[in-house]
């Protein structure tokens, strides 16, 4: 009983942290602060994945997102001379209100679908690396997995070609 309670407390604490990080990220004008806020959100989400019984995805989230993607973001932010977003006169309150209204509309729409979804609790849930790998390398997903390695190679070559200076060398 106390373990369940502890579990729930951790779940809501990390959930609040994730949401808080996201809100800070969106409200910052300086993209460097946004990047650090996003890292907080990603780490909190990794904890949520772990609490939902998926240790493999939780580890992957830290390694790939916090470790690789966000480092790439910060690297680019430091490579380019990044200034805080300038305040523009024309950026009216109307535009912000429309953006918030559209976001609220989307949330209501998806929320009605999500709240109608059935969420039974399957017993004996095992999402360890071994169990996930068994499915990942089964014939059902094996070819998709091999295709992603081609995708990674293509994006590697593409990124180098795009970021290279004009005119060869």
């Amino acid at each position: 009983m106390t373990l369940t309670l502890f579990h729930a407390i951790l779940f809501y604490a990390f959930g609040g942290l994730a949401l808080g990080g996201a809100l800070v990220m969106v409200s910052q004008r300086n993209p460097t602060y946004s990047a650090f806020a996003l890292i907080v959100t990603l780490v909190a989400l990794s904890a949520e994945f772990g609490l939902l019984g998926s240790p493999f995805i939780a580890a992957l989230q830290i390694v790939v997102y916090a470790g690789a993607i966000m480092v790439l973001f910060l690297f680019v932010l430091m490579l380019l001379s990044v200034k805080a977003e300038a305040r523009v006169e024309g950026e009216g309150r109307v535009f912000k209100l429309v953006a918030l209204a559209l976001g609220a509309l989307l949330a209501a729409e998806v929320g009605s679908a999500l709240l109608a979804a059935k969420t039974p609790m399957a017993g004996g849930f095992d999402a360890s690396a071994r169990a996930v790998a068994r499915l990942l390398f089964s014939p059902q997903y094996l070819y998709v997995f091999e295709a992603t390695s081609i995708l990674i190679l293509a994006s590697l070559v593409g990124a180098v070609a795009l970021a290279r200076r004009e005119g060869g060398r």
Binding site: A18, L45, S54, I69, F73, A107, A117, M121
Partner: protein
């Protein structure tokens, strides 16, 4: 763990996705917009994991794995494009990028 917890994870995923959408609308720095897209991908991942837990089905976990891979590839190419545009325009403001606008 109760079914309530899974439902709340779905609501958290919904909230994160909505915050990401509003961020794409509000921000003008292209890198921040890109980070909002990453946030939306993560929100969807959370929904995948929650449903995977609810139904005891591992396909959701495998899909999250693929989303992570595609996100990494997308970040690499996207940031390379941003660097290359910044070299020409010397700004990160999306309002300045109108090369493909008629």
């Amino acid at each position: 763990m109760s079914p309530q917890l899974v439902q709340h994870a779905l609501l958290l995923s919904l909230a994160l996705f909505a915050v990401g959408v509003v961020g794409v609308f509000l921000r003008r720095n292209i890198i921040t917009i890109f980070m909002c897209v990453e946030l939306m991908l993560n929100a969807v991942n959370l929904a995948f994991i929650a449903f995977s837990r609810a139904w005891g089905n591992l396909d959701g976990q495998v899909l999250v794995f693929f989303v992570l891979t595609v996100a990494a590839a997308e970040a690499a190419v996207g940031l390379a494009i941003i660097i290359s545009i910044h070299r020409r325009k010397d700004t990160l403001d999306v309002d300045a990028f109108r090369v493909m606008k008629w």
